[in-house]
Symmetry: C2
Subunit: 236 residues, 2 copies
């Protein structure tokens, strides 16, 4: 009990078991539906990639550059997640590939149910229902998206140079669950106290299997490695 304000109420503890139980059942339902998303996307011939980062780390810009580089070679589709606005899907459609916008109406992450709708909407835009690559751009948030499996084959976590190299240590779950770590906006390294060694080392300590790519969309540095990563998935 608090001796200054006399408060005995602690919502964390009082409600804990109820909340834990509900969360468990929601996550189990999410997992089941995510497995269906995965086989649904496989039926379309597609490999799916879930992109996770803070707002403004450069997810949409990376997708624009990826479509410019690979849009002729692969059939690409994009599912955009945002709390509000159609902006990101409009940016992608301007590059000539099918894109659907999912708005979460306040929720801080995509879940499998919402992505399930997105897959259907995407399929409606396709004549032959086939794709090679589906990118799922999650809501800008380094925390909660890490908890929700969407049915993706690979998960990519991104941190931009201006955010700081302490981010893997501070937001471990996003790195533990990812296959690839992309450090973006590396053209800004001269202006920031960002250590690639610290960031990639911390990511590796959390998840020995994670690979790191350093990338700059304006200069094109690192795009080759990213292209190789994608080609390795499509040509499995």
């Amino acid at each position: 009990m608090c001796d200054t304000c006399g408060c005995q109420l602690n919502p964390e503890h009082a409600q804990d078991s109820r909340v834990v139980e509900i969360n468990r059942s929601l996550l189990a339902a999410n997992q089941e539906l995510a497995e269906k998303n995965r086989s649904h996307m496989e039926q379309m011939g597609a490999v799916a990639i879930n992109l996770i980062s803070s707002p403004g780390a450069g997810k949409t810009t990376l997708l624009e550059k990826t479509i410019e580089a690979l849009g002729e070679r692969y059939r690409i589709g994009v599912i955009e997640g945002d709390i509000e606005t159609e902006r990101d899907a409009e940016r992608i459609r301007a590059k000539g590939v099918p894109a659907v916008q999912l708005t979460t109406g306040g929720a801080c992450h995509l879940d499998a149910a919402l992505v399930h709708k997105g897959i259907h909407q995407l399929q409606h835009q396709l004549a032959d229902k086939r794709l090679d690559l589906i990118f799922i751009e999650n809501v800008g948030n380094l925390v909660c998206p890490a908890t929700f499996y969407l049915g993706e084959h690979k998960r990519v976590v991104m941190v931009s140079v201006p955010e700081g190299s302490d981010k893997p240590a501070k937001y471990p779950r996003a790195f533990i669950g990812s296959d690839l770590f992309i450090i973006t906006k590396t053209d800004l390294l001269p202006y920031f106290d960002f250590s690639i060694e610290e960031a990639s080392g911390a990511a590796k300590a959390l998840n020995p299997k994670i690979e790191t790519i350093c990338l700059s969309a304006p200069t094109g540095d690192g795009m080759d490695e990213w292209m190789k990563f994608l080609a390795g998935l499509v040509n499995r």
Copy 2:
């Protein structure tokens, strides 16, 4: 029902009423405890400010600069929220003011119960139990912290230039509930396609009472306005 994979399960709808009910009761308990936090901090003589932004927007750096400028004039205390690590509290203590680190153990926001503990820990570090200003640095996340009132007197939302000027439109709740919008890292404006007009205009459209300050920690631009904002709170 989904006609391709035959799925009837939609966790969003099936569990909706249970989840809504639990959320409502948790938020009500949070609100009650936040009011106690507020009167507790007022008994200490303090005005409390809740800082909300994405990871890496510069919350801790702004606090360091604020302490350098005002640490002699006001008694300042800091409550740091992070998912993991003691780093931010260590940075603040190095500036000579009391700081406590709250780690949320995975949660993406501070809540009133956790801040309640933080207030007590902060008080233990003070000889006379008095402070003028308490800064509560929330977990780096532009989404969920906006939903949880902690007992603060003022809420400040920050977006850095590298994140992009579309952030108020994309993350409206953080702006609707805030008193001040700080655009940080304005020394980087030459390197980014960031429109101060777009960002501050969108914030104002969401919340006509919100003021915008453009600030650069390295150059010191905008620090005067921030100091005036703080002085106006302490000398009410």
